[in-house]
Structure formats: structure tokens, C-alpha cells
């Protein structure tokens, strides 16, 4: 159960290897990588800057990860979130979940992403191709996605 906030890029394979090395109790590993989309036409962007609330971010991600560990029988999990200025195609966020079976690993990874999107104090600013900079607006569908976990009891 690890949380990191950093400027450097991550390598999905290396992170999975580190999390699972020497273990034979894991049967299923799910990773989610979020990347910067470049958009197109009037929505084309040249870069994205990620600002966060140092201290609260780590605390919030750790709370979210602990909650996932209570809901599903996870063998290991990892959240890495980058900050600073990123170009289209670059990695933003990585979530890894490992469990004995795939259902728990999939559900926990989705849960972590949904909660991270609505609770972790990060803000994205897009640098647009037309020279304008714009703070990204929160998406209503992310609030709905997070809301669904409050009704479902976990499939333990």
C-alpha cells in the first residue's frame, strides 16, 4: 500500500514488478494509467500543468487507498500521481491493484480512480494551442462515478 506524488515519469512494468516480486499469492494485477490527451482543432492543447495541495494530497490518497483495502481483499496497491508540466501523451496517474482474483483487482482499481478524481486535491491547467491557458472544469460524470460506490456493498 504505497502513495507517491512526484514530478518524474513512471514505468508501469517496473512498478508492477516491484509490487509483485517474489510473491505467489497474487493471481490478478490491474493497472490504470491516465495520460494527457492532446485534443484537436479548437481544443488542441500543448501542455498541462498539475498543481496540488502538498500534505493533503498524500493524506487523501492514503485514505482512499486504505478504504479500498477495507472493501476488497487486496494483496498490494499503489497510487502514483505526477505534478508539474506534462505534454500530450505523457503519463499523469498510475493505479495498481493486486488480488488473488480479478474481480477484486478490477473493482478496487476503478474505485481508487473514481475517488481520486473527486477527492484528491489536484488541479489541471491546460495550455492551449491558441495561446490561452484554462483551468480544467470538474466533470459531473466523475462525481456520479464516485457516488455509485456509496450504495454498493463490496463483493467480498
Amino acid at each position: 500500500m504505497t502513495v507517491r506524488v512526484e514530478r518524474e515519469d513512471f514505468d508501469v512494468g517496473a512498478e508492477v514488478a516491484r509490487l509483485t516480486v517474489g510473491r505467489s499469492d497474487i493471481g490478478a494485477i490491474v493497472t490504470f494509467s491516465g495520460t494527457v490527451r492532446g485534443g484537436s482543432g479548437a481544443d488542441a492543447i500543448t501542455a498541462m500543468t498539475l498543481e496540488h495541495y502538498p500534505g493533503m494530497t498524500e493524506a487523501e490518497l492514503a485514505r482512499v487507498e486504505a478504504e479500498a483495502g477495507k472493501r476488497w481483499p487486496l494483496k498490494a496497491s499503489l497510487i502514483v500521481h505526477r505534478i508539474g508540466t506534462l505534454k500530450p501523451g505523457e503519463n499523469i496517474v498510475l493505479v495498481v491493484t493486486a488480488s488473488a482474483h480479478r474481480q477484486a483487482a478490477f473493482a478496487a482499481a476503478e474505485f481508487l480512480m473514481d475517488y481520486l478524481k473527486t477527492r484528491a486535491p489536484f488541479w489541471k491547467k491546460e495550455m492551449r494551442a491558441d495561446g490561452q491557458a484554462r483551468w480544467v472544469a470538474a466533470r459531473e460524470c466523475d462525481r456520479e462515478a464516485a457516488g455509485r460506490w456509496e450504495e454498493i456493498s463490496p463483493p467480498r
Binding site: 491516465g34 477527492r119 486535491p121 488541479w123 483551468w135 466523475d142
Partner: protein
């Protein structure tokens, strides 16, 4: 009692600073009252908090609603809805 106030993203940009230490009047006891009081500090605050209902608040690094009492929090942060991930 001095309190550390933090601003993030466009709240920070509108106010023109990332943080400040303020002594709050005794009659400011909730998040909502603090937002009203901050609005009175100048046009940049008034603009930042104009749409008070979209601004999110954390007391000592925990999300709270705007109706929450300040309860002696030492660090209060104002920011837009989060957009990470």
C-alpha cells in the same frame, strides 16, 4: 489566534497569493462566515469568492462542507473542485 489560509488553482490566481496568515474575528465561526468575511477584504477576494458555492474547503487537510464550524482549525484551504487523475 492566527490561522493559515491557503488558496489553490484559480482561487489562488484571483486572490493573487498562495497563502497568508490571518487573525480571524471572534464572530467568524463557520466556513461560510469566513468566506463572507474574506470577501470584504478587497475586490480580488470578492471576485474569487463570487461563486462561493463552487469553492471547496479543507480544514486541517480534511474536506468539509461550507456549513462546517471552523473548530479551531490551524490550516484552512480554499480551492475549486478537484480535477486530478
Amino acid at each position: 489566534m492566527p490561522v493559515k489560509i491557503l488558496y489553490f488553482a484559480w482561487v489562488r490566481e484571483k486572490i493573487g497569493k498562495a497563502e497568508e496568515i490571518l487573525d480571524l474575528p471572534a464572530n467568524v465561526t463557520t466556513v461560510a462566515e469566513l468566506m463572507v468575511w474574506l470577501k470584504g477584504r478587497g475586490p480580488e477576494y470578492a471576485e474569487a469568492f463570487a461563486q462561493g458555492d463552487v469553492i471547496r474547503v479543507a480544514l486541517d487537510r480534511n474536506h468539509v462542507k461550507s456549513t462546517a464550524p471552523l473548530s479551531g482549525a490551524r490550516e484552512i484551504a480554499f480551492f475549486p473542485p478537484v480535477t486530478g487523475g
